[in-house]
Symmetry: C2
Subunit: 308 residues, 2 copies
Amino acid sequence: QLCPLEGAPECENCSKVIRLLLYPIKCTVITADTSFSLTPEIPKGVVIQGNNSNPASEKFRRVRNWSITKYKYTKQALSEKLGRGSRTVDLDLEPRLELLKDDRQRYENVTSLAQTLASQLSQLTVTQKNLGDAFTELSVKTPTLHLEFGINADAQRFLSKSGETLTEAINAFTSDMNTLVNKTIEDTMINAKQYETVRIEYDAFRVDLEELNMGPRDAVTVPKLEQAQKDFQTQREKYEKIRDDLSVKVKLLEGNKVKVLRNQLWMLHGAFAAHSLSCQNFLEKNIQEAGEHLNNVSTDVPSFLEES
Amino acid sequence: QLCPLEGAPECENCSKVIRLLLYPIKCTVITADTSFSLTPEIPKGVVIQGNNSNPASEKFRRVRNWSITKYKYTKQALSEKLGRGSRTVDLDLEPRLELLKDDRQRYENVTSLAQTLASQLSQLTVTQKNLGDAFTELSVKTPTLHLEFGINADAQRFLSKSGETLTEAINAFTSDMNTLVNKTIEDTMINAKQYETVRIEYDAFRVDLEELNMGPRDAVTVPKLEQAQKDFQTQREKYEKIRDDLSVKVKLLEGNKVKVLRNQLWMLHGAFAAHSLSCQNFLEKNIQEAGEHLNNVSTDVPSFLEES
């Protein structure tokens, strides 16, 4: 099957751009002062009627329409980037999307910090375990300091164990935060990108229609205007549908996000509180037991000078 | 002033060894089967009487005595290393010194682990501070999660501050442990090395005397024996003095060490307990305040679906 563009003559001025657009088409040459207004004249009667049953022709029509839309899109996107022209702004949705993007970055930052914290805590627990073991050996080896080395051995070993539990809790937090950021929010972000594409397309057709409306009305322009009006309406419906869908999705995400975060944040605080409480209880008991031991057995060995 | 050894003829067999020893002296040649028994014949009447007032001669005598002692020392140390001969063992002091050496290694290990712990904890507190700051910003930015981000921000910032205090306490511990290991114990270890040198010298003279005692007694050997007896006595007194001094020092160190360690170990445990207690108190208060806030103001914003 032959490509509909195959064998189409190239524009004399700028062959490549033309190949992407339509045949027959005349491209305005890029000059110094209009370097960013590469506007080919759209050929009259671009809409080919549906009664054309030739599949190659149908394909050609679709490719042509796609090309027109892409061209309009690029032109609109470019003029928006350069601060020219106008763009449709949804005053409810777009600030929400901006907020979401900013939130997302902040959540990513928090997640990364929590990940670092978990990894540092994990290393710390290993050191505490080793220190606990070293204290245990010294406790066995040093009868005169059995109690003191022992109490520190127990403390470090307990802190290490409790630290491991805390590390797991932080890891659970970062894992759920990653899901929120990279799955839940990302999903809506993909929709937001689609929305932005459709919005630019819609604005392109809107600007076209406005330009035609401002021009003279004659036998040539009136059918053009009617077609532009039709295209605009189609794009508008498409735009409004995707905007409404996204708006619902963003609001649902906002609610969902708050619930997930509330849960995660309480869990995180709870994990630190539980760690603190268990350490505090253990160390208090540890000191108490040592105190009782000190009262029962006087560990004060008389000094060498007192002995002699 | 002329060096007393200047111009002294060298031994025909092994000039260098002779230069370090005495003139006139005859060196036994090292043969394959007696490779480790390089024993020069000590010349008769090596003890020069004190009435010799010539300073050069006096110097010569001292150098000669020093050389003999050094030679005997090397011979004794070598035969001990090869598991030959006998050595004097102080059954009270030497096990104490071995214990001290082992303890020292263990204290070094504990100090190094504590140093690692302090450094890891210090890094952890930096991450906690940053996490606290990130939560604070989110708390300000997110009215619906103001409380939840706020409570975590306060928690992390407090834990960071308390962690810094704990880090300082661990650093104080390692600093005092370093003093104990590298100053207090090291000082005794230097004395122990001096003791070991004197002990080998003493053993060298003791072995010499024993060998002479086992030999025949005639006009030649009896003065030698008398001299060896005198030398042995001198070395013995020297050895016993340094041994007793070291023994006192080691016993004092043992007492001192126990006191220093007991203090340090209680302080270390106390620092961890204080950290745990302050964190526990803060987090409990933090949760209580948040609970009161939750009771006063219902922060449950109705969900988007409930709103509509």
